[in-house]
Symmetry: C2
Subunit: 322 residues, 2 copies
């Protein structure tokens, strides 16, 4: 299981290969929020999301023979791009299984990072069967998006950076709001902060209707979302909390926060105006919670997890809220 | 006159008050450029542009009595916001003279940073006369936008950071492309690099039709632009090179680069897609040159100077080029 030693070892392996992202703030944004809001800008990470960390951690932790045979991942989005680039930079063959109806630009980018993209039809084909067969034929190692100890350790390096940067900013006690799908990033950050900055406590942030983590934390057991799609926050619509990530968050995280799609879009617009960063809606839910949730303390930290947004969605956010 | 000692002294005064901005890059952007492009993201600076550096440098260099009387600046844009915030954080009174037809959001933001905004009518009123009278009545010190040794020293701290960050990235020889209005930033960076990274050479970047610096450098004397307005790159449309900045650039800078408005807009769109930062057109001309200018070497550094762009202009860039 992931622990602080694994996270620190991952940080060593990641050093020089991923970016230390800045902790941003803006006086006029604080005024809108009515509190001091620090934003950990993981949208500025290589490939546009924190997923490049977990990918690098997992690929670099493989034994050299397994790495030489290659890796495989299932994803239509940020995990695909992170694993594709990280495998390429390790010289490891990489297959990404993507639904044939994934956005063309994401397919093109994943290929551009050097991966072999295998498309499947969501309606008629069984993704896991195709993946299992490819993995068996070629000896590929599956890199899961969140329920993998080395992936959690890689994402946890965000927490190490937050601990250092918050201390530099004079912040030792605050909630750390984290956009949450399966919980890989949130659980990794929670483990890092437990060891390095125990006054900083993770709280997950999710879109309304897809608040499986918030409900699971409240119920004390893993609960599913009623639907698979239907929010603009596509990057974090995971069916239910991870088997590995949930117990970590149950032990370390505060109650989950929930925001509406409109609040996420408004956070996208405010980040454009006041921080000059590009967020995708799913990467903006933690900032939305920091801005709009009641009953938060005077100082909060929000992790803005990704910025791979199609131009039309971004233009809509600006037209409605900027 | 500004020298490396003044720049290093400014860096001491700025420490902890302005942001060390990241040096970004993206593999897919390099592919489009056909070269390795590093981007110094000054759009992530407080107030959204490098102007917060020069403002802090100038205000902090005043003697305490002058500072207590206050400062005045003329600007409709980034210099206004930088000086307004920096004066407020020093507890210094601040008057900003803005044309009454300046964008409402810029007037509102300058006020929100704590400045007293005095509006004047461009057609019927004499800005300098109003400013001189206010300065005399209240004992205010004028903070010029570029032709001031302490302002140049403050902007030069960008060069100190580039020297360190480029070395960390293994880059010791490259042109450093800098968006250029009056030349305060370009000359400050040139002085810093001369002392700290002599293999890095400044080249100014300007919009077509407003290439007074490029023509002046070629002619060996300060030449004016034929027009005052007419480019989308409003932040850097200065009538002619500065009296203090031009001799510095004449001695240290390579030939000036010129890009079209469309190339600037395309750079805005590519920075959105591949770097997830928000640039204004005038803050993107150096990146445009890095992407589209012929005859540049394999590795270049572009300083992206500002991100205060109105949503409609940004949406246009995305619709046309993203």
């Amino acid at each position: 299981m992931t622990d602080i030693a694994m996270i620190e070892a991952a940080a060593q392996r990641l050093s020089g290969h991923v970016r230390i992202t800045p902790l941003l703030h803006a006086p006029l944004l604080d005024r809108i929020a009515g509190r001091q809001v620090f934003v950990k800008a993981e949208c500025l990470q290589l490939t546009g999301s924190f997923k490049a960390r977990g990918g690098w951690s997992a690929v670099s932790a493989l034994d050299p023979q397994a790495r030489a045979r290659g890796v495989i991942a299932y994803s239509s989005g940020n995990h695909a791009q992170g694993v594709a680039l990280d495998a390429a930079r390790h010289g490891a063959p990489c297959v990404i299984l993507m639904p044939s109806d994934a956005p063309a630009v994401k397919i093109a980018n994943t290929r551009a990072y050097g991966a072999e993209v295998v498309l499947y039809d969501r309606q008629t084909q069984d993704r896991d069967a195709i993946g299992d067969q490819l993995a068996a034929e070629r000896g590929l190692t599956l890199i899961k998006p969140f329920d993998d100890p080395q992936v959690i350790a890689g994402q946890g390096t965000v927490g190490l950076e937050i601990a250092t940067q918050a201390a530099e900013a004079g912040v030792t006690k605050a909630p750390v709001l984290v956009c949450c799908g399966g919980g890989g990033l949130a659980s990794g950050i929670a483990l890092a902060l437990e060891a390095k900055a125990p006054g900083l406590t993770v709280r997950t942030a999710e879109p309304a209707g897809f608040d499986d983590m918030a409900r699971s934390l409240a119920a004390g057991q893993r609960l599913k979302n009623p639907a698979a799609t239907g929010s603009i926050c596509d990057a974090i619509l995971t069916p239910m909390p991870g088997e590995l990530t949930f117990p970590i968050l149950q032990r370390l995280a505060g109650p989950g926060l929930v925001v509406t799609d409109d609040q996420a879009l408004q956070a996208v617009a405010l980040a454009f105006t006041h921080l000059r960063i590009v967020l995708e809606p799913g990467g903006a839910v933690a900032l939305a919670a920091a801005l709009f949730a009641p009953d938060l303390p005077e100082t909060v930290i929000a992790v803005s997890t990704g910025g791979n947004v199609d131009p039309a969605t971004f233009a809509t956010a600006l037209a409605r809220f900027a």
